[in-house]
Point group: C2
Chain length 182, copies 2
């Protein structure tokens, strides 16, 4: 029986996720792909660190980017595009001053991670997510997926990073995943 597949048109921002789906003519023998990533990858909080960042302005968060084993291997080998199975996680916390640290430093200079804001994922599956550069995008707030109700659009904001497989963090030659002895 011929099945109707969905054309995934993912339009998302770095700050949020909105996914629109539109039915197109289907193909026999083709599974209907998930519209977007709906489950938090198991054990992501144990993944290895790629890099860190601070977003000022309205976001006002401090963040870490982690990668599963497949992603970290690709990062370290400097191989792009990322292979299928790679998952990149972006964890954000509120950006707050640390009174405790400032006392030690003797000046107002220390900012630390406060309460968790949200977590985002990019999941590489070049077939399933072919319409969005091979990446499925997702955002979870309080452990729950954010989808159509979100304000943003992931893929459109990641498109400028097409030259490095739509991933911003530590894929540029001058900002590779690095640290002494790594």
């Amino acid at each position: 029986m011929k099945r109707i597949t969905l054309l995934l048109v993912a339009v998302a921002t770095l700050a949020g996720v909105v996914f629109f789906s539109a039915p197109v003519s289907g193909h026999a023998d083709q599974e209907t792909g998930p519209v977007f990533v709906t489950k938090i990858p198991n054990g992501f909080r144990d993944w290895r660190l790629v890099s860190v960042a601070h977003e000022a302005g309205n976001l006002n968060d401090i963040r870490a980017v982690l990668g599963n084993d497949t992603a970290i291997k690709a990062y370290r080998e400097g191989k792009l595009p990322f292979p299928d199975g790679a998952i990149v996680a972006r964890l954000a916390w509120s950006y707050i001053p640390s009174e405790e640290n400032n006392k030690v430093f003797g000046r107002e200079q220390s900012f630390v991670a406060g309460s968790p804001v949200n977590v985002q994922f990019m999941v590489k599956d070049s077939k399933k997510y072919a319409a969005t550069g091979g990446w499925g995008f997702a955002q979870f707030t309080g452990g729950k997926p954010v989808n159509e109700a979100a304000a943003g659009a992931c893929f459109s904001c990641h498109e400028p990073a097409k030259a490095h497989d739509f991933v911003f963090t530590s894929t540029r030659p001058d900002l590779k995943i690095s640290h002494p002895t790594v």
Copy 2:
């Protein structure tokens, strides 16, 4: 044969490390402890993430704190003091604006990790480092240990955090290692 032991007087800052050693009367059967941590713990770059921070001012870095398995277990269980064998690593990178990210956001708001600055470690051994709260301190710049030549002092700056075992990052009840679904 009676051996002379060293009294480790570690005076160090969050930003640097200076260790002074002074000979004191020794004890039979007591090993001479190392003056300070001289080797980078194997595989630290693969350790799990505790938290992230930004130090403005003169340091002007962005940093991540990682923990070995023993440290992460203690963090997650909320058990202080940390047990012997726990190691906490602090990696710092230069704090630089990301023109690439700012273009996407449409404003100057994004700061990322640039080149590596240094890495610091706290190694828990309640006997070996009894004189400094049970912690051995170290800093490595470019993969090389920084010792007497450094400008700072570790332990004295960590003393205000005595209530949470001299560790600042994510040991306070309101700033525990955390994220949704963790």
